[in-house]
Amino acid sequence: MVKFLRIGLILLCAVALVSGCANMTAPQEEFTKGSAVVAPPMAFQNYCGYCESKIPEPVPEPCVEPVPEPCVEPVPEPCVVEEVKEEVVVPEVCEKIVLRGINFDFDKSNIKPEFIPVLDEAVEILKTNRDCDTNVIIEGHTDWTGTEKYNQGLSERRAASVCNYLVEKGISQNILQPIGYGEADPIANNRTREGRSMNRRVVFKILD
Protein backbone atom coordinates (compact mmCIF):
# COMPACT_ATOMS: atom_id res chain seq x y z
CA MET A 1 0.00 0.00 0.00
CA VAL A 2 2.73 2.35 0.93
CA LYS A 3 4.47 1.33 -2.25
CA PHE A 4 1.41 2.36 -4.33
CA LEU A 5 1.24 5.67 -2.57
CA ARG A 6 4.89 6.34 -3.34
CA ILE A 7 4.45 5.49 -7.00
CA GLY A 8 1.34 7.71 -7.19
CA LEU A 9 3.16 10.57 -5.60
CA ILE A 10 6.02 10.24 -7.99
CA LEU A 11 3.66 10.22 -10.94
CA LEU A 12 1.86 13.30 -9.67
CA CYS A 13 5.15 15.12 -9.35
CA ALA A 14 6.11 14.04 -12.82
CA VAL A 15 2.82 15.26 -14.30
CA ALA A 16 3.13 18.51 -12.40
CA LEU A 17 6.66 18.97 -13.67
CA VAL A 18 5.68 18.31 -17.26
CA SER A 19 2.68 20.65 -17.13
CA GLY A 20 4.74 23.34 -15.44
CA CYS A 21 7.26 23.34 -18.20
CA ALA A 22 4.52 23.45 -20.78
CA ASN A 23 3.22 26.75 -19.23
CA MET A 24 6.57 28.49 -19.21
CA THR A 25 6.56 32.06 -20.28
CA ALA A 26 8.88 33.25 -22.96
CA PRO A 27 11.40 34.65 -20.54
CA GLN A 28 11.37 31.41 -18.60
CA GLU A 29 11.96 29.47 -21.77
CA GLU A 30 14.81 31.81 -22.61
CA PHE A 31 16.22 31.33 -19.17
CA THR A 32 16.14 27.57 -19.52
CA LYS A 33 17.97 27.96 -22.77
CA GLY A 34 20.67 29.94 -20.98
CA SER A 35 20.09 33.31 -22.63
CA ALA A 36 20.74 36.40 -20.71
CA VAL A 37 17.46 37.91 -19.84
CA VAL A 38 16.97 41.16 -18.18
CA ALA A 39 14.19 40.22 -15.88
CA PRO A 40 12.03 42.85 -14.41
CA PRO A 41 13.16 43.50 -10.89
CA MET A 42 11.31 41.53 -8.33
CA ALA A 43 9.63 43.76 -5.92
CA PHE A 44 9.11 42.99 -2.28
CA GLN A 45 7.12 44.95 0.11
CA ASN A 46 8.91 45.68 3.33
CA TYR A 47 7.23 46.33 6.61
CA CYS A 48 6.89 50.01 6.13
CA GLY A 49 4.98 49.47 2.98
CA TYR A 50 7.68 50.98 0.84
CA CYS A 51 8.67 49.33 -2.28
CA GLU A 52 12.25 48.60 -2.44
CA SER A 53 14.21 46.86 -4.99
CA LYS A 54 16.24 43.87 -4.18
CA ILE A 55 17.98 44.40 -7.41
CA PRO A 56 18.92 47.97 -7.59
CA GLU A 57 16.91 49.58 -10.18
CA PRO A 58 18.98 51.02 -12.91
CA VAL A 59 19.56 54.51 -11.88
CA PRO A 60 18.22 56.59 -14.58
CA GLU A 61 20.51 59.13 -15.72
CA PRO A 62 19.79 62.28 -13.89
CA CYS A 63 17.12 64.06 -15.69
CA VAL A 64 19.06 66.98 -16.69
CA GLU A 65 16.81 69.44 -18.16
CA PRO A 66 18.34 70.43 -21.35
CA VAL A 67 19.70 73.79 -20.63
CA PRO A 68 18.65 75.93 -23.38
CA GLU A 69 21.40 77.81 -24.88
CA PRO A 70 21.44 81.23 -23.48
CA CYS A 71 19.04 83.26 -25.43
CA VAL A 72 21.36 85.74 -26.84
CA GLU A 73 19.57 88.41 -28.61
CA PRO A 74 21.09 88.73 -31.97
CA VAL A 75 23.11 91.84 -31.78
CA PRO A 76 22.66 93.76 -34.91
CA GLU A 77 25.79 94.73 -36.55
CA PRO A 78 26.70 98.20 -35.60
CA CYS A 79 25.16 100.58 -38.01
CA VAL A 80 28.16 102.16 -39.49
CA VAL A 81 27.22 105.49 -40.86
CA GLU A 82 29.46 106.03 -43.71
CA GLU A 83 31.07 109.34 -43.48
CA VAL A 84 29.86 111.55 -46.22
CA LYS A 85 32.99 112.77 -47.76
CA GLU A 86 31.23 115.30 -49.90
CA GLU A 87 31.30 118.72 -48.42
CA VAL A 88 28.29 120.91 -48.65
CA VAL A 89 29.22 123.34 -51.28
CA VAL A 90 27.67 126.70 -50.78
CA PRO A 91 27.66 128.44 -54.11
CA GLU A 92 29.73 131.57 -54.02
CA VAL A 93 29.03 134.72 -55.90
CA CYS A 94 31.62 134.94 -58.63
CA GLU A 95 30.30 137.99 -60.43
CA LYS A 96 27.77 140.78 -60.04
CA ILE A 97 25.91 142.80 -62.63
CA VAL A 98 24.34 145.97 -61.24
CA LEU A 99 21.53 147.53 -63.25
CA ARG A 100 21.32 151.27 -62.73
CA GLY A 101 18.55 153.61 -63.68
CA ILE A 102 15.84 150.97 -63.33
CA ASN A 103 13.80 153.52 -61.44
CA PHE A 104 10.26 152.26 -61.43
CA ASP A 105 7.50 154.77 -60.97
CA PHE A 106 5.96 155.03 -57.53
CA ASP A 107 4.31 151.75 -56.65
CA LYS A 108 4.94 150.39 -60.15
CA SER A 109 6.97 147.45 -61.37
CA ASN A 110 6.40 147.62 -65.12
CA ILE A 111 9.39 147.81 -67.45
CA LYS A 112 9.55 151.27 -69.00
CA PRO A 113 10.99 151.70 -72.55
CA GLU A 114 14.04 153.59 -71.28
CA PHE A 115 15.04 150.60 -69.12
CA ILE A 116 15.14 148.18 -72.02
CA PRO A 117 18.68 148.97 -73.32
CA VAL A 118 20.06 148.39 -69.80
CA LEU A 119 18.22 145.09 -69.48
CA ASP A 120 19.26 144.02 -72.98
CA GLU A 121 22.90 144.70 -72.16
CA ALA A 122 22.53 142.55 -69.03
CA VAL A 123 20.99 139.76 -71.11
CA GLU A 124 23.91 139.94 -73.53
CA ILE A 125 26.44 139.69 -70.68
CA LEU A 126 24.54 136.72 -69.22
CA LYS A 127 24.45 134.96 -72.56
CA THR A 128 28.10 135.61 -73.41
CA ASN A 129 30.88 133.48 -71.99
CA ARG A 130 28.69 131.78 -69.45
CA ASP A 131 27.59 128.23 -68.83
CA CYS A 132 23.91 127.80 -69.51
CA ASP A 133 23.40 126.22 -66.08
CA THR A 134 24.97 129.08 -64.12
CA ASN A 135 22.49 130.19 -61.50
CA VAL A 136 21.63 133.85 -61.18
CA ILE A 137 20.01 135.55 -58.22
CA ILE A 138 18.09 138.66 -59.18
CA GLU A 139 18.05 141.02 -56.21
CA GLY A 140 15.74 143.98 -55.88
CA HIS A 141 16.86 146.75 -53.48
CA THR A 142 15.17 149.96 -52.42
CA ASP A 143 16.22 152.95 -50.34
CA TRP A 144 14.54 153.57 -47.00
CA THR A 145 11.86 155.96 -48.28
CA GLY A 146 8.49 154.48 -47.32
CA THR A 147 7.71 151.75 -44.82
CA GLU A 148 9.83 148.65 -44.48
CA LYS A 149 6.90 146.42 -45.44
CA TYR A 150 6.07 148.47 -48.50
CA ASN A 151 9.71 148.48 -49.67
CA GLN A 152 9.97 144.74 -49.17
CA GLY A 153 6.95 144.09 -51.40
CA LEU A 154 8.08 146.64 -53.96
CA SER A 155 11.57 145.12 -54.25
CA GLU A 156 10.03 141.67 -54.72
CA ARG A 157 7.73 142.89 -57.51
CA ARG A 158 10.60 144.67 -59.23
CA ALA A 159 12.91 141.65 -59.03
CA ALA A 160 10.12 139.49 -60.45
CA SER A 161 9.46 142.00 -63.22
CA VAL A 162 13.13 141.99 -64.30
CA CYS A 163 13.17 138.20 -64.06
CA ASN A 164 10.17 137.97 -66.42
CA TYR A 165 11.92 140.20 -68.91
CA LEU A 166 15.01 137.96 -68.92
CA VAL A 167 12.85 134.91 -69.52
CA GLU A 168 11.15 136.67 -72.45
CA LYS A 169 14.63 137.27 -73.86
CA GLY A 170 15.52 133.60 -73.75
CA ILE A 171 17.23 133.14 -70.38
CA SER A 172 16.07 129.90 -68.79
CA GLN A 173 13.73 130.45 -65.88
CA ASN A 174 15.35 127.47 -64.14
CA ILE A 175 18.56 129.38 -63.47
CA LEU A 176 16.89 132.58 -62.24
CA GLN A 177 15.86 133.29 -58.68
CA PRO A 178 14.27 136.68 -57.96
CA ILE A 179 14.63 137.92 -54.38
CA GLY A 180 13.44 141.15 -52.85
CA TYR A 181 15.64 142.65 -50.13
CA GLY A 182 13.63 145.79 -49.56
CA GLU A 183 15.69 148.40 -47.73
CA ALA A 184 17.62 145.78 -45.73
CA ASP A 185 20.89 145.79 -47.65
CA PRO A 186 21.99 149.34 -48.36
CA ILE A 187 25.46 149.97 -49.76
CA ALA A 188 25.42 153.71 -49.08
CA ASN A 189 24.09 156.16 -46.55
CA ASN A 190 20.31 156.50 -46.82
CA ARG A 191 20.46 159.96 -45.17
CA THR A 192 21.76 161.60 -48.35
CA ARG A 193 20.10 161.87 -51.74
CA GLU A 194 23.20 160.41 -53.37
CA GLY A 195 23.24 157.49 -50.97
CA ARG A 196 19.58 156.71 -51.58
CA SER A 197 20.19 156.74 -55.34
CA MET A 198 22.99 154.22 -54.94
CA ASN A 199 20.83 151.99 -52.77
CA ARG A 200 18.02 151.75 -55.34
CA ARG A 201 19.28 149.02 -57.62
CA VAL A 202 18.74 145.66 -59.24
CA VAL A 203 21.70 143.29 -58.85
CA PHE A 204 22.34 140.02 -60.66
CA LYS A 205 24.49 137.73 -58.54
CA ILE A 206 26.06 135.07 -60.68
CA LEU A 207 26.86 131.95 -58.67
CA ASP A 208 29.69 129.48 -59.15
Binding site: V93, K96, V98, L99, R100, N103, P113, F115, I116, V118
Partner: protein
Protein backbone atom coordinates in the same frame (compact mmCIF):
# COMPACT_ATOMS: atom_id res chain seq x y z
CA UNK B 1 42.79 162.71 -55.49
CA UNK B 2 41.64 159.20 -56.12
CA UNK B 3 44.13 157.15 -58.07
CA UNK B 4 41.79 155.57 -60.51
CA UNK B 5 43.12 153.70 -63.45
CA UNK B 6 40.75 154.35 -66.28
CA UNK B 7 40.79 152.55 -69.53
CA UNK B 8 38.37 153.83 -72.09
CA UNK B 9 37.37 151.20 -74.56
CA UNK B 10 35.98 152.56 -77.76
CA UNK B 11 34.01 149.84 -79.39
CA UNK B 12 31.15 149.46 -81.82
CA UNK B 13 30.37 148.05 -85.21
CA UNK B 14 32.58 149.64 -87.82
CA UNK B 15 29.82 149.56 -90.41
CA UNK B 16 27.33 151.40 -88.25
CA UNK B 17 26.99 155.11 -88.62
CA UNK B 18 28.27 156.63 -85.42
CA UNK B 19 25.79 158.66 -83.46
CA UNK B 20 26.97 162.29 -83.55
CA UNK B 21 26.23 162.51 -79.85
CA UNK B 22 28.57 159.63 -79.07
CA UNK B 23 31.78 161.63 -78.42
CA UNK B 24 29.93 163.92 -76.05
CA UNK B 25 28.34 160.93 -74.32
CA UNK B 26 31.75 159.29 -74.02
CA UNK B 27 33.29 162.36 -72.51
CA UNK B 28 30.47 162.77 -70.05
CA UNK B 29 30.63 159.10 -69.09
CA UNK B 30 34.36 159.42 -68.36
CA UNK B 31 33.59 162.22 -65.97
CA UNK B 32 30.64 160.29 -64.54
CA UNK B 33 32.85 157.26 -63.88
CA UNK B 34 35.42 159.39 -62.02
CA UNK B 35 32.71 160.72 -59.75
CA UNK B 36 31.13 157.28 -59.31
CA UNK B 37 34.40 155.60 -58.39
CA UNK B 38 35.09 158.41 -55.90
CA UNK B 39 31.75 157.61 -54.27
CA UNK B 40 32.61 153.93 -54.09
CA UNK B 41 36.03 154.77 -52.65
CA UNK B 42 34.33 156.87 -49.97
CA UNK B 43 31.95 153.99 -49.17
CA UNK B 44 34.94 151.62 -48.83
CA UNK B 45 36.68 153.99 -46.41
CA UNK B 46 33.48 154.30 -44.39
CA UNK B 47 33.29 150.50 -44.28
CA UNK B 48 36.81 150.32 -42.81
CA UNK B 49 36.03 152.92 -40.14
CA UNK B 50 32.71 151.31 -39.29
CA UNK B 51 34.06 147.75 -39.26
CA UNK B 52 32.13 145.43 -36.94
CA UNK B 53 34.72 143.58 -34.85
CA UNK B 54 33.51 140.35 -33.26
CA UNK B 55 35.17 137.84 -30.89
CA UNK B 56 36.14 134.67 -32.72
CA UNK B 57 38.44 131.72 -31.94
CA UNK B 58 40.16 133.29 -28.91
CA UNK B 59 40.71 136.49 -30.85
CA UNK B 60 38.80 139.07 -32.81
CA UNK B 61 37.87 139.40 -36.47
CA UNK B 62 36.24 142.03 -38.60
CA UNK B 63 35.21 142.05 -42.26
CA UNK B 64 34.72 144.87 -44.67
CA UNK B 65 34.27 145.53 -48.39
CA UNK B 66 36.07 147.97 -50.67
CA UNK B 67 35.64 148.76 -54.35
CA UNK B 68 38.15 149.45 -57.13
CA UNK B 69 40.11 151.66 -57.50
CA UNK B 70 41.03 150.02 -60.82
CA UNK B 71 38.25 150.09 -63.35
CA UNK B 72 37.42 149.83 -67.03
CA UNK B 73 34.56 151.46 -68.82
CA UNK B 74 32.97 151.81 -72.23
CA UNK B 75 29.79 153.08 -73.84
CA UNK B 76 27.55 151.39 -76.40
CA UNK B 77 25.00 152.69 -78.80
CA UNK B 78 21.63 151.04 -78.35
CA UNK B 79 19.42 152.26 -81.19
CA UNK B 80 16.80 153.25 -78.62
CA UNK B 81 15.22 156.69 -78.90
CA UNK B 82 14.75 156.99 -75.14
CA UNK B 83 18.16 155.62 -74.19
CA UNK B 84 20.61 156.01 -77.09
CA UNK B 85 23.61 154.83 -75.02
CA UNK B 86 24.42 152.58 -72.16
CA UNK B 87 27.60 152.92 -70.15
CA UNK B 88 29.37 149.84 -68.81
CA UNK B 89 31.68 150.12 -65.83
CA UNK B 90 33.75 147.18 -64.52
CA UNK B 91 35.67 147.05 -61.23
CA UNK B 92 36.31 144.66 -58.36
CA UNK B 93 34.45 144.30 -55.09
CA UNK B 94 37.16 143.30 -52.60
CA UNK B 95 36.37 141.54 -49.34
CA UNK B 96 38.89 141.95 -46.53
CA UNK B 97 39.39 140.27 -43.18
CA UNK B 98 41.12 141.81 -40.15
CA UNK B 99 42.33 139.68 -37.24
CA UNK B 100 43.84 140.53 -33.89
CA UNK B 101 44.24 139.60 -30.23
CA UNK B 102 41.97 142.43 -29.16
CA UNK B 103 39.68 145.00 -30.74
CA UNK B 104 42.39 147.64 -30.96
CA UNK B 105 44.89 145.37 -32.70
CA UNK B 106 42.19 144.03 -35.00
CA UNK B 107 41.24 147.54 -36.02
CA UNK B 108 44.89 148.41 -36.71
CA UNK B 109 45.46 145.23 -38.73
CA UNK B 110 46.00 146.14 -42.41
CA UNK B 111 43.43 143.56 -43.53
CA UNK B 112 43.79 140.52 -45.72
CA UNK B 113 42.05 140.16 -49.09
CA UNK B 114 39.76 137.13 -48.89
CA UNK B 115 37.56 137.43 -51.95
CA UNK B 116 37.42 139.44 -55.15
CA UNK B 117 34.19 139.69 -57.14
CA UNK B 118 34.01 141.20 -60.60
CA UNK B 119 31.30 143.84 -60.77
CA UNK B 120 29.77 145.19 -63.96
CA UNK B 121 27.50 148.23 -63.62
CA UNK B 122 25.24 149.25 -66.48
CA UNK B 123 24.02 152.86 -66.67
CA UNK B 124 21.68 154.47 -69.15
CA UNK B 125 22.05 157.77 -70.97
CA UNK B 126 18.58 159.24 -71.10
CA UNK B 127 17.60 162.84 -71.91
CA UNK B 128 21.25 163.85 -72.17
CA UNK B 129 22.46 162.58 -68.79
CA UNK B 130 23.66 159.41 -67.10
CA UNK B 131 20.93 157.99 -64.92
CA UNK B 132 21.50 155.81 -61.88
Amino acid sequence: MLSVVLALTLSGPSTAIADPEKPAAQKSFEHFVNVWMSKLDKIGKMNILGIDIMPRDQGFVGRYVCYGPECKFSIKETGSAETPFVGILCYSEKHFLKKGENRQKTFQNPGMLTKKIRVTEIFRFTHGKWVY
